[in-house]
Structures are given as structure tokens and as C-alpha cells.
């Protein structure tokens, strides 16, 4: 009866109590599934705008999301989280204390769904560098959280900017990435901003590095 190895008819042992009858612990992640748009699309207006439309320095940051067969992931969702140009977050949990992020209306967060070609565009400003522990400095970057059907938890990667070569050399996160893979985290310059292609899975050396926290 119990056959967890047959993918055409999986069968699992049923424990199925409820959370009150098992020890306390972190709630597991589950996939957003195919119908995520109804739940997370309408949340806030212009969710892809980390800055208002008329903000000075506004750029487009675009992504393509590609699966292991080389096909675009048309139901991908990306959330970006980043500092402003001065390295400040619009967040009360910044250990440096509260400071108003700029430009006015900057919210650090953006959320965008892919179109059918797997393309996602975020409107934002380029972030500044960030202080890290022991005097280290993180190069300007955007945290990228990727969600889709078929992903049991969020995938986390980063976008870096091509002009910051010197800062990349001492960035503590890029330094943790094998040297040959570092270019996969560095966006290319476009007319309107920057672009990064994210290969979720690739067996020919193009797979994007992802991070565990």
C-alpha cells in the first residue's frame, strides 16, 4: 500500500493529527501553486513599482525566468527587496535605526508576476552599497525572491550591477560563490536599466546560483 517511489501513484503513510498534537516548530513552506495570481496580484496598486512613476533616478530592472527544459516560466512571481541609493531600507527592523528612505514613496519591496514569456519588470532605483560586519561592504544589489508552481519554497538569489566591478571583488556574498558562477548574478545594462536572466535549472553550466539563509 505504501509506495512513495512510484510517481504515477504515490502513496504515503498517513499520520494526520493536527498542529496542536505535535511539537512546536517552524511552519513548513508550500508551493504558491498555479492560482497564486488571485491571492497575491491584487494586494497593492502598482506592486511592481518600488518607487513612484516620477521618481528621480527611476530605472527598469527586468528578469527572464527559465526552467530546466529551457522554457520560460510564465507563472513565476518575483519579489524584490532592496535599499535606496543611500543604502537605507524602508523598514523598521533596520538595526541602524529608523531613517526615511528616498526618494519619497520608495518602499524597498516590489512584487511582479511574469508574462507568458517569463518576463518580469520592476521599476525602482539603483540601490547603494551596504555596510556589513567587520568593516566589510556589500556591493549594490537587489535581493530576489522567486516563487512559482513546482517550487516548494522561495528561491533566493541576488542581482548585482555590471559597473561595480571593484565593489564585487570584495563583496562577501559574491565571494562565497564559485568564481565561474559570479557573472550569472551580474545584470546586463539595457536602455532603460538592467536585465538578468534567471536559469532555475540548467545542466549546461548556466544555472543561476541560489542562496540558503
Amino acid at each position: 500500500m505504501i509506495d512513495t517511489q512510484n510517481p504515477d501513484a504515490p502513496r504515503y503513510p498517513v499520520l494526520a493529527k493536527s498542529q496542536d498534537q505535535v511539537p512546536f516548530g517552524v511552519t513548513p513552506s508550500q508551493t504558491v501553486g498555479p492560482y497564486v495570481h488571485i491571492g497575491l496580484f491584487p494586494t497593492w496598486e502598482n506592486s511592481g513599482d518600488a518607487v513612484p512613476e516620477d521618481a528621480p533616478g527611476r530605472i527598469d530592472v527586468s528578469f527572464n525566468v527559465i526552467d530546466g527544459a529551457g522554457q520560460p516560466i510564465g507563472d513565476a512571481m518575483i519579489e524584490t527587496w532592496q535599499a535606496d541609493a543611500a543604502g537605507r531600507f524602508n523598514s523598521p527592523t533596520d538595526p541602524r535605526g529608523a531613517a526615511e528612505a528616498t526618494p519619497a514613496g520608495f518602499r524597498s519591496l516590489a512584487r511582479v508576476f511574469a508574462d507568458e514569456s517569463g518576463t518580469i519588470v520592476v521599476h525602482t532605483v539603483k540601490p547603494g552599497a551596504l555596510p556589513a560586519e567587520d568593516g566589510a561592504v556589500e556591493a549594490p544589489h537587489i535581493n530576489v525572491g522567486l516563487f512559482a508552481r513546482g517550487m516548494l519554497e522561495r528561491l533566493y538569489t541576488r542581482l548585482y550591477f555590471p559597473e561595480d566591478t571593484d565593489a564585487h571583488a570584495s563583496d562577501p556574498v559574491l565571494s562565497a560563490v564559485p568564481e565561474a558562477d559570479r557573472p550569472k548574478l551580474i545584470a546586463e545594462k539595457t536602455d532603460r536599466g538592467y536585465h538578468l536572466t534567471i536559469h532555475v535549472q540548467n545542466t549546461e553550466g548556466r544555472e543561476t546560483p541560489f542562496f540558503a539563509l
Binding site: P10, Y35, T43, S91
Partner: protein
């Protein structure tokens, strides 16, 4: 010099593997390479915080839409959002979405032959209060078939999305119902390590069941905390 509080790499014992072959869509949507473990810095320990201004009145009630009442069993889902030390997480945004009583989503890609309910949209939002408590009213969702394997059915569930207070606390999960008959064949539920699965099953809550109105279910959500083992730099820095 910047001091960053130590909170690192907790909660992974609860997570499914990225590749879980019985859930077929994971096969092409999971990285082949290992994830690279990195310490949490400013961009990982900060996160968005929401307030009452972000939620409109009535957004915590899915049982009315388009001038009428939704069909099905009316339920109240409530609980607390805590960190892994048991500390309540206030003012965090919870977004939920779900199928209707017949197991159908109001989504253009959902085409299985169960009727849409004109008075049910299947979307709600709420904020936790100062004690981390949240509550919303909805209809108990139905099970529905999907194409993963022969006669595959998803157990009834409600999708939950939470931000917590830090980028690292971001969680999307699914709440299940006690005594669901479909757990035995569902690879999404069973992708989670056995010791952590039942944390996703809500508890029938008679104390929260409202006389002459709605059935109560309690679902507490525990996000990764700030009290975990410090990351050890392999180079000893």
C-alpha cells in the same frame, strides 16, 4: 562598526527538498546545484512592515461578494503568528486565497467542471494584532483534482502568504484541515519532512465556533526566529 544580531539558518528541518519527483513540476523547476549558505546581513534581516492603512474594511471576510452570500460551510480561521522562540509577531500582513466550496478557483487557468460561485472570490487579507493574533471568515474549500498523477486530488487547503518582519521570515504555505481523506496520495503535503507535516494541519476549534453562525478552526503559524545558532564562518573570521 556595524553589529548584526545573530539569526541564521533556522527552520530548514521543516522544509521540503527542492526536488520532490512525485510532484512532477518540481523536476524542471528545482536547481541542480546546492544552495549556497550565506550569513544574513542588512538586506536579509530587514523587511516590510504593514499597517491598518494597508487593509480595507471587510477584506478579512470572503463570505460576501457581488451582492450576495457565498455557498458552503461558513468557517472562522484564526490563530497566532509567532517566531520560533514563541514570541508573537505583530502587524504582519497575511494574504490568503483558496478554492470555493466545490473546489474551484476563480482563476482563468482553473477549468475543472465544478461551478464558480458568483458570490465567492476566494481572496482575503488581514494583519496580526499586537499579540500576533489574526482572524478571517471564509467558506470551507473543497478538494479538487489535478493532473499530477492518475486520480490525483489536492486535500482541501487555504494558501497563506506572510512577510513576517524580515526578508528571511517570508513564508508561503498551505493550511490543511484535520481528518482530510486525501493526505495519503498528495505529494505536495507529503513533500515536507514527516516530523513537520502536521504543523500545517489546523485544529477544529469548538471554543471559537460561533453559535448559530460559523465553525472555528485554529491555525498558528511559526516563522523563523532571531534566536538561532550563529552562522559559523568556515574560515574562522
Amino acid at each position: 562598526m556595524l553589529h548584526l544580531p545573530a539569526h541564521h539558518h533556522a527552520g530548514h528541518e521543516a522544509n521540503a527538498p527542492l526536488l520532490f519527483p512525485e510532484y512532477k513540476t518540481t523536476r524542471l523547476r528545482s536547481p541542480k546545484n546546492d544552495l549556497i549558505l550565506v550569513p544574513q546581513r542588512l538586506g536579509e534581516i530587514t523587511g516590510p512592515v504593514f499597517g491598518d492603512a494597508d487593509i480595507a474594511k471587510g477584506e478579512n471576510d470572503m463570505t460576501h461578494a457581488n451582492g450576495g452570500e457565498a455557498q458552503g460551510q461558513r468557517i472562522i480561521v484564526h490563530g497566532r503568528v509567532l517566531d520560533s522562540a514563541g514570541k508573537p509577531i505583530p502587524d504582519t500582513l497575511i494574504e490568503v486565497w483558496q478554492a470555493n466550496a466545490g473546489g474551484r478557483y476563480r482563476h482563468k487557468m482553473d477549468s475543472w467542471p465544478a461551478p464558480l460561485d458568483p458570490h465567492f472570490n476566494g481572496v482575503a487579507r488581514c494583519l496580526t494584532d499586537k499579540q500576533g493574533h489574526y482572524e478571517f471568515t471564509t467558506i470551507k474549500p473543497g478538494a479538487y483534482p489535478w493532473g499530477n498523477h492518475h486520480n490525483a486530488w489536492r486535500p482541501a487547503h487555504i494558501h497563506f502568504s506572510l512577510f513576517g518582519q524580515a526578508f528571511t521570515q517570508r513564508l508561503v504555505t498551505q493550511m490543511y484541515f484535520p481528518d482530510d481523506p486525501f493526505f495519503f496520495q498528495d505529494p505536495i503535503y507529503n513533500s515536507v519532512p514527516e516530523a513537520a507535516r502536521e504543523r500545517m494541519i489546523s485544529t477544529f476549534d469548538y471554543d471559537h465556533t460561533r453559535d448559530n453562525w460559523a465553525v472555528g478552526f485554529k491555525f498558528d503559524i511559526v516563522l523563523r526566529g532571531q534566536d538561532a545558532t550563529p552562522f559559523e564562518d568556515p574560515e574562522g573570521h
